[in-house]
């Protein structure tokens, strides 16, 4: 007996289906189904995964693409017999989706009428009137492609419904076909299906009652059971329909936009022409023979794989950016090619770094070309709009990102469905430490007050585990564009994203890869904004024209590397984090490639694989460089025999464990998503056995596997690191040679990077850069350079003033008299409203015209001074009566400056107010004030730590600027304590933190008694006793106010 299931929804019918497409196809094949149609509701988001599983596991199962739709009481399934029908389905889904907001759809009768190729399975509703209407209607427009789908779910009174369907079928001459309306791959998923139904309804399970499925019959059912339920003719019909469906996703061929190639040229000849043009710019004194050979090799490979259009598309994009003076930088395996260097997609010079260029595109690895282009983060939107404008919304759309259930969201939703109180769930979610290695989250539930033996808890645990990884909705990919020659909706449905004016396709980047459709990644990078702004400042104030490639071409500068080696890297790209800073003095990068390694090594992958210390030892000559075999040497020689990069790990899997190209590619994909799906485990045995069989030590193999796990979501390839290293070097170069311009540009590009304005300015001061306060007569919106002695000083910009509107600042600057403002009334006349004036007063920007901030505010509050009605905001708030009274009084007391009514703020008050109004203070550091007041007895300043001997006890105090608990360091928290002389690193072990919870978690100013440890130039304080000094400050100012 044969059967084809023609109506089956996966979990891409969000919160309806309870099984993944992979599970469904695997189970259908195991049950011996001839074909399975994945028919999610108004969606084809799950079909590629099913397609991939069938191909990978070589299942004897035909995949049919379709979709189910609901229009009031009408429910029907559309199936695609051929490619034309598939395009039709995509068009219908696109139309229905584009009519509604994200996640919804709206089908119209017109959509249905326009169906000319898809097969239609109609599911009668049981409502007499509606069924007869639709039966007639469908028969009128779609005769010949129409079936009546019969379900048997063993529901109440089913016999009557079956009879009814039969009667309708014979009345309208409809052929009947059996279908399962499947939602689960196995009956055991019923509990999960109930649970997602409850989530969908937004009610606890127990309130749903009869709205839930009454049994597990909507699972894929064994053939003998189906044979009992349906007449043979209906089952045969399902196979007959499946037989007629010949469309396969592999037929989808992607057509690149042709307009990129000028008339009379082929893509290949045009690309060659552009590369030759570019090479003349890049190699002004002639292309070296070795490079020329590489160019030829690369062009040949590109031609062989038909990737010309891909490179041309990206070339077009960066040309646009160049015209608009938007800074960009390409990265990725294909980006590090001479071709990309010549096309000015990247600035990585092949002469500087040979090793990279040996691996470009690879046929045997079967991976698609990878080029991500980063643009200035404040201007990426211009690039995106250019794409939309050039190709139109029909032909360009963003790839989707499938947002899946993670632990917390799963726990919250399942918990709600099981009826746990929301506050308890919040409590659990906040308190479960997923990184706690000593007890699993299931065990922690018990410790947090759930009875671990109760039925609810056991159900919670199981359902949360099952639900994790289930898709919740489609979101937009950060910047992956799909561009095509014809309308995209013939290739894949397009739907609305949450952002207005954005559309996403229904497939994510893995799906695109599976179908070998190419996407262009348009990403945003803050550092590029900062570098471009810095270039402009240098041009304007130092009359020197700079570019990324230009700085790179100057060669490795020892002075710049000295700054990097000293970990003087606040504000630099990639190497500014705490972990990087502690590694820099140990690794001592001295050339460009060292930076490439440096950026990649301080990552979860190498750390988890325990590769950092071996590398350090080998680099410092403590351990000899050796290789287990010649093949491995080939892969690892550039990193002294220690695998650091993702590419190396993949290559190791191939040369050392015998993975085929296709398997290596599967491994790469699994690495990218293993946190979500846990797919990596299936490779473990193969990898370890493979390596052992080839004579490698078990321990080495285990470490490689650990590293693969560590790469997980943070996988860091050399090809990306290479491009990042260029930017890291450029930022270091700028910081070394033009510090005022560097800090100014950085401050004007926030938010980005690790550090707050306060920390950046303190770093600037440590580099002898003068910083001037914000001033009504001196500042502009942005931070600016102002002449100061021989060099420039940084003037705080109005952008730093909390509460000051951009419009207000613009008015202020526009109407500023040549000699500056001299009174508040002038400012009011310029049109500044009350809240803007208040913000200026708070930032102490009015000190030159109305005294300190207390007295400035006091004057600003005076309603009489603000009359006649310059100050709209306040005037509106007052009752008429008060206004009358006030205006009557105007004549008697002429408005005049009344400075001195209120006592001036104390020094500490000033500092606190500075923090409140601008997030930073140019006056004394609060710690300096506390120290002066004798509140920090026996505390060593951060600067003084260098005089403390290794392993000796020490006490330090400071503002807690960072509490960081990296996933790679079990049980350790890093604290940054900042005082007036710098920032100190404190290590708090778990036990210490637990014993002194209160101070550890809540202190804003912390005193630490501990032991100083020094390794090379890295200094840590290992915390012993923690004391919260926040209240000292509060008592000191005699009022408690939150600050910082």
């Amino acid at each position: 007996m044969d059967y084809a299931e023609l109506f089956c929804q996966s979990h891409f019918s969000f919160l309806q289906g309870a099984s993944s497409p992979q599970e469904l196809v695997t189970q259908a094949a195991a049950l011996g189904y001839q074909a399975l149609a994945i028919t999610d509701e108004c969606s084809v988001a799950g079909v590629v995964r099913a397609y991939r599983t069938i191909n990978e596991q070589q299942l004897a199962l035909k995949l049919i693409i379709g979709s189910v739709f609901v229009l009031d009481k009408l429910q029907l399934v559309l199936l695609c017999p051929d490619k034309t029908a598939y395009s039709e389905l995509c068009r219908i889904i696109t139309n229905a989706r584009r009519r509604s907001s994200k996640g919804e759809y709206q089908l119209t009768e017109w959509d249905l009428m326009s169906v000319k190729h898809c097969f239609i399975l109609w599911l009668p509703s049981g409502d007499l009137e509606s069924d007869h209407y639709w039966a007639q209607w469908l028969q009128k427009y779609h005769a010949g492609r129409l079936w009546l789908a019969m379900r048997r779910q063993l529901s109440h009174n089913e016999q009557a419904f079956t009879d009814y369907c039969q009667q309708v079928a014979s009345q309208y001459q409809l052929t009947q076909v059996s279908c399962g309306a499947v939602l689960m791959h196995r009956p055991e998923r019923l509990a999960l299906q109930h649970c997602v139904s409850a989530i969908r309804a937004g009610k606890p399970l127990r309130e749903l009652g009869r709205e839930l499925l009454s049994n597990a019959e909507r699972a894929l059912r064994p053939l003998p059971k189906l044979a009992k339920l349906f007449p043979q003719s209906l089952l045969n019909e399902s196979c007959a329909i499946a037989e007629r469906c010949s469309f396969n996703l592999s037929e989808l061929k992607y057509q690149y936009p042709a307009e990129l190639v000028p008339a009379g040229q082929t893509a290949s000849s045009y690309l060659r022409q552009l590369v030759i043009q570019g090479s003349k710019i890049r190699f002004s004194d002639g292309v070296p023979a070795r490079v020329q050979a590489l160019i030829e090799k690369e062009l040949a490979l590109i031609a062989e794989l038909n990737y010309e259009y891909f490179f041309l598309t990206i070339y077009d994009l960066v040309q646009f950016a160049q015209r608009r003076h938007i800074l960009y930088q390409g990265r990725g395996s294909a980006a590090n090619s001479v071709v990309c260097y010549c096309l000015q997609i990247t600035a990585v010079d092949p002469r500087q770094i040979q090793v990279l260029f040996e691996r470009f595109l690879s046929k045997e690895r079967q991976e698609p070309p990878d080029i991500d282009v980063d643009f200035e983060h404040e201007r990426r939107e211009e690039v995106i709009q250019y794409l939309y404008q050039k190709y139109g919304r029909e032909r360009a759309a963003l790839a989707a990102t499938v947002i899946s259930y993670r632990f917390k969201s799963a726990l919250r939703d399942v918990g709600k469905a099981l009826g746990l109180p929301v506050s308890q769930l919040d409590f659990l979610i906040k308190n479960i430490q997923r990184r706690d290695a000593t007890s699993s989250w299931q065990q922690q539930l018990g410790a947090l007050g759930l009875d671990s033996n109760s039925q609810t808890t056991r159900q919670l645990v199981q359902l949360v585990d099952e639900l994790r990884g289930f898709p919740r909705h489609l979101s937009q990919h950060v910047g992956g564009f799909v561009i095509s020659e014809g309308p995209l909706y013939e290739l894949v449905p397009v739907e609305n994203a949450a952002m207005s004016d954005r559309t996403v396709i229904q497939w994510d980047k893995d799906d695109l890869e599976t179908l070998e459709l190419l996407k262009v990644d348009v990403l945003a990078l803050g550092m590029l904004t900062a570098i471009r702004k810095c270039f402009e400042l240098v041009q304007q104030h130092y009359q020197r024209s700079l570019s990324i490639a230009g700085i790179n071409a100057l060669g490795d500068d020892p002075a710049v590397f000295q700054l990097i080696q000293q970990a003087d890297t606040v504000g630099l790209f990639q190497i500014e984090s705490r972990a990087q800073m502690s590694m820099l003095p140990r690794l001592k990068p001295a050339c460009y490639y060292d930076l490439v390694v440096q950026i990649a090594i301080v990552r979860p992958g190498p750390i988890q694989g325990d590769m950092v210390h071996p590398y350090l030892k080998r680099r410092n000559g403590i351990e000899p460089v050796s290789y287990p075999s010649a093949e491995v040497e080939q892969v690892l020689s550039r990193t002294m025999g220690v695998p650091i990069f993702q590419e190396q790990v993949i290559a190791l899997a191939m040369v050392a464990a015998g993975f085929s190209g296709g398997e290596a590619d599967q491994l790469r994909r699994a690495m990218a998503s293993w946190k979500k799906t846990g797919e990596l485990l299936q490779f473990k045995d193969k990898l370890i056995n493979g390596m052992q069989n080839r004579g490698y030590q078990l321990e080495f193999a285990e470490r490689i596997y650990q590293q693969i796990c560590g790469f997980g979501e943070y996988g860091f390839p050399e090809s990306h690191s290479a491009s990042f290293a260029v930017l890291a070097y450029v930022s270091a170069w700028l910081k070394h040679y033009y510090p005022p311009a560097f800090y100014t540009a950085l401050l004007n590009s926030l938010p980005m990077g690790f550090y707050s304005p306060s920390q950046l300015l303190q770093d600037a001061k440590r580099h002898q850069v003068t910083v001037l306060p914000v001033c009504v007569n001196g500042s502009v919106w942005d931070y600016a350079l102002q002449p100061n002695q021989q060099d420039y000083a940084i003037r705080l910009g109005f952008r730093q003033v909390k509460g000051l509107s951009a419009a207000g600042a613009e008015l202020l600057i526009q109407h500023r008299p040549a000699a500056g403002y001299s009174s508040l009334s002038q400012l009011r006349q310029a049109g500044l409203n009350c809240s803007d004036l208040q913000a200026l007063a708070s930032a102490n920007a009015l000190v030159s015209i109305s005294g300190d901030r207390y007295n400035s505010r006091w004057q600003l509050l005076d309603k009489q001074q603000s009359l006649p009605l310059f100050c709209e905001g306040l005037a509106e708030k007052n009752s008429d009566e008060e206004n009358d009274l006030a205006s009557a009084a105007v004549a008697e007391t002429p408005a005049k400056y009344q400075g001195g009514l209120l006592p001036a703020p104390s020094e500490l008050d000033e500092v606190l107010e500075d923090y409140a109004a601008t997030g930073l203070s140019l006056q004394q550091h609060p710690l300096a004030l506390l120290r002066r007041a004798g509140k920090l007895p026996r505390s060593t300043s951060v600067a003084g730590l260098s005089a403390v001997r290794h392993k000796s006890p020490v006490r330090i105090s400071g503002l807690v600027t960072l509490r960081q608990r990296p996933g790679t360091a079990a049980g350790v928290t890093f604290l940054s304590l900042e005082d007036e002389t710098g920032t100190a690193n404190v290590v708090v072990w778990l036990a210490t933190a637990q014993a002194q919870h209160k101070a550890f978690l809540t202190a804003k100013i912390l005193q630490v008694d501990g032991i100083l440890e020094r390794e090379g130039e890295v200094t840590h304080v290992i915390a012993g006793r923690l004391t919260d000094l926040s209240s000292e400050l509060a008592a000191f100012v005699s009022k408690s106010r939150d600050f910082h």
Binding site: L154, S155, H156, N157, Q159, P187, L190, A191, L192, Q193, H194, C195, E207, L208, G209, R210, E211, L212, S214, N215, A216, E217, S423, Q424, D426, F427, K430, N431, A447, L448, G449, Q459, R853, Y854, R857, W858, L861, D862, K863, Q864, K877, N878, S879, E882, L885, A886, A889, L901, L902, P903, P905, D909, E913, H997, K998, L1001, T1002, S1038, K1039, R1041
Partner: protein, 472 residues
């Protein structure tokens, strides 16, 4: 001179909860509001370093075994009201200041108690007995007392100078000024009431709205501060000593009728009715016997109550003769019955509620219940006993058509094994309502036995047949 006392109860609802669960293990407890902020903390929670208004996350991190309970303003008010009622026995002018405070006007009481000390002695003794945490202080005005109490001034004094000095030193966060206004003041360097009071009102009027001026006016006593003083709660409590001991419970009805008539009068005056009477019978040797008589719809008529009392008394064995009766009504309930139309004939008939009251009085309330349809697949759960006359969810108009699936009129509470031959006429309907117990699925059929009875049958996963009901 006017003198006020303010009592502030920082954790009234929580203290009350803890008292009522005295023997439970000592755990840190916090009450949280809907924004997940800590509203009240017990001592253990305070010891752990928790603070009010702290977020749930930091609280949980500081104190992992913290128990959370919802903060209920309505319940808090009830407790506050109760405290006020208790204090009313000692002090006459008490005004509620929800959610956590009481104003007490003292100047009238001083004469009665001959001074402030003796008054406070009595009052604090009573307060300590109540065992709620409280802060207190005197003040020349209600707001002054409140402001001082909130900062734990604990001043029991009528010394104007002392009170005024303490008031001037008060930080602004102890005042009633709105949070934004306090912040505004802080940003002018004004931190204490003294600083604020030193500024000429005219200067303030030019800068601030009337809220500030009216507060300061009341604080100083320049403006009259009207307080809504507490009225004692109405209720009914009468004791009747019998002229002779009664040993037959039915005879008790006569004296009882008198009491009930008095009750009817009082209810009539208040235009109220009541739902419950407490009747206490006193014996010479035995402890008093308390009866609780309820009326579901509420009654005020003596005759109606008497009928209900009779039903209970009829079967009541008395251990010995009764010498006294006490009738208590703790709470009068809303409006008296709707006035019946003049020509309505229903007068003589019983309403459903009256019938219910009679049935319950006669059979005991546990014996009377209703039946409602439940939104459940499982037949055992599809209908449920409920409180009488409470409508089930089927009556709320939201039931799906499936709610009226064909089900037998008579359902066996325990299915019986099928012992006779039947012919199946409909089915199967497969029911597996619990996704966790697929093995518990049942296939239901409708069948007919030889006698022509229609049976509701099912077959379980082990292929055993059961009868679950009969169709009518």
């Amino acid at each position: 001179m006017a003198l006020f006392l303010y009592l502030h109860f920082p954790a009234l609802q929580l203290d009350h909860l803890q008292q009522s669960a005295e023997n439970s293990p000592q755990l840190p407890i916090a009450l949280v509001d809907q924004q997940h902020q800590l509203m009240q903390l017990n001592q253990l929670a305070l010891n752990a370093g928790l603070k009010l208004q702290m977020g749930l996350a930091s609280a949980a991190a500081l104190c992992p075994d913290l128990q959370l309970l919802p903060y209920r303003p309505a319940q808090q008010l009830k407790v506050l009201n109760n405290v006020a009622q208790q204090l009313y026995q000692l002090s006459s002018d008490i005004a509620l200041d929800p959610p956590a405070g009481l104003f007490l006007r003292l100047d009238g009481m001083l004469q009665l108690y001959r001074g402030l000390r003796p008054y406070w002695q009595q009052l604090s003794a009573k307060l300590n007995k109540l065992n709620y945490r409280y802060l207190y202080s005197c003040g020349a005005t209600p707001y002054a007392a409140k402001c001082l109490a909130k900062q734990q001034a604990a001043l029991i004094s009528s010394d104007t100078k002392q009170l005024s000095a303490a008031l001037h030193a008060s930080p602004l966060h102890a005042t009633e000024l709105a949070e934004p206004l306090q912040q505004q003041m802080a940003r002018l360097g004004i931190d204490t009431l003294g600083q604020l009071l030193a500024i000429a009102p005219g200067e303030l009027a030019r800068r601030f709205d009337s809220q500030l001026l009216s507060y300061l006016g009341r604080l100083r006593g320049d403006y009259y501060h009207a307080l809504d003083y507490l009225q004692p709660e109405p209720g009914f409590s009468r004791y009747l000593e019998l002229l002779y001991d009664i040993s037959d419970s039915t005879v008790l009805v006569r004296p009882l009728e008198k009491l009930l008539q008095q009750l009817e009068q009082q209810l009539g005056r208040a235009n109220c009715q009541c739902h419950q009477l407490l009747l206490t019978l006193f014996f010479r040797d035995n402890p008093p016997l308390q009866l609780c008589i309820g009326s579901a719809q509420g009654e005020y008529k003596a005759a109606a109550w008497l009928e209900l009392c009779q039903l209970q008394l009829q079967n009541l064995p008395l251990p010995e003769p009764v010498y006294g009766l006490q009738l208590d009504v703790n709470r009068f309930a809303g409006q008296q019955r709707p006035t019946e139309g003049l020509f309505q004939q229903q007068h003589a008939r019983m309403s459903a509620l009256q019938l219910l009251s009679i049935l319950q009085a006669r059979l005991g309330s546990a014996a009377v219940s209703g039946l409602t349809i439940q939104n459940q697949h499982l037949p055992e759960q599809a209908s449920q006993r409920s409180l009488p006359l409470v409508k089930g969810d089927s009556a709320k108009g939201q039931a799906a058509p499936a709610a009226f699936a064909l089900r037998p009129a008579f359902l066996l509470s325990n299915p019986q094994p099928l012992t006779e031959p039947v012919t199946i006429s409909q089915g199967p309907e497969r029911i597996c309502a619990d996704g966790w117990q697929l093995a518990a699925q049942r296939d239901y059929y409708i069948g007919r036995n030889r006698q022509g009875q229609w049976l509701w049958l099912y077959r379980n996963a082990r292929q055993q047949w059961f009868v679950h009901g009969w169709f009518s």
